[in-house]
Amino acid sequence: MIAGHFGLATGVKAGAPRLPLWALLLSTFWLDVIFIFLFAAGIEGLTQIDPAHPSYGGALIHAYYTHSLVGALLIAAITGGIAGLWWGRQGGLVIAAVIFSHWLLDLLVHRPDLPILPGNAGNLPLLGFGLWEYPVFSAALELALVLVGVYLYYRRASQLPAPSGVAPSQQRGRVWLASVGTLLLLLLVLTLDLLSL
């Protein structure tokens, strides 16, 4: 899941309008950003279930630090604390919640490959409800998150007053541009992910 995470973050903007959208988008993907660095360092990795035909959701992810339950909570708490220095306590809490939402959504779609403790300490059962086994349903979930998220964003943005010197019609145009532009970019991400490009 990629676009679904971003769709959720876009919707969160409606409830936390003072946080910049880029920060929410980055937060929802933060575990994967750290994963990319650990992947490059050979600490975490992923295995295609069918290496000859990589497909949407067709991977087992060995992210035993970034995507462990406790690891994700720690990353969310630390990053949220730092974000709170810029955006206040409430902003930091929202950032932390959005970061952890990544793990919750991954729990829905991943096959059982999410550990509870960092490094899979104790060899506890791996978690994951495996919605990726049914790509149509997981893609539908992602699309729903994108559509609902952008709708909530648009609805909230429509309530913004026009700045002085900006005509109401021009303000409506800006709201449309931001909403439709973000929607198209989210759909692009979803399409490319579905095509495994």
Binding site: F6, L21, T182
Partner: protein, 36 residues
């Protein structure tokens, strides 16, 4: 690789479009009152 490119595009362009709106003028109380 293309997906990563699209994600970067989303962060940069989506973030920029969002920044064009005057979110700093949001007054949460007044929005709640409007909904009522």
């Amino acid at each position: 690789m293309w997906t990563i490119f699209a994600i970067v595009l989303l962060l940069v362009v989506g973030g920029w479009l969002d920044a064009q709106l005057n979110w700093s003028q949001v007054n949460p109380k007044s929005v709640k009152e409007e909904r009522r």
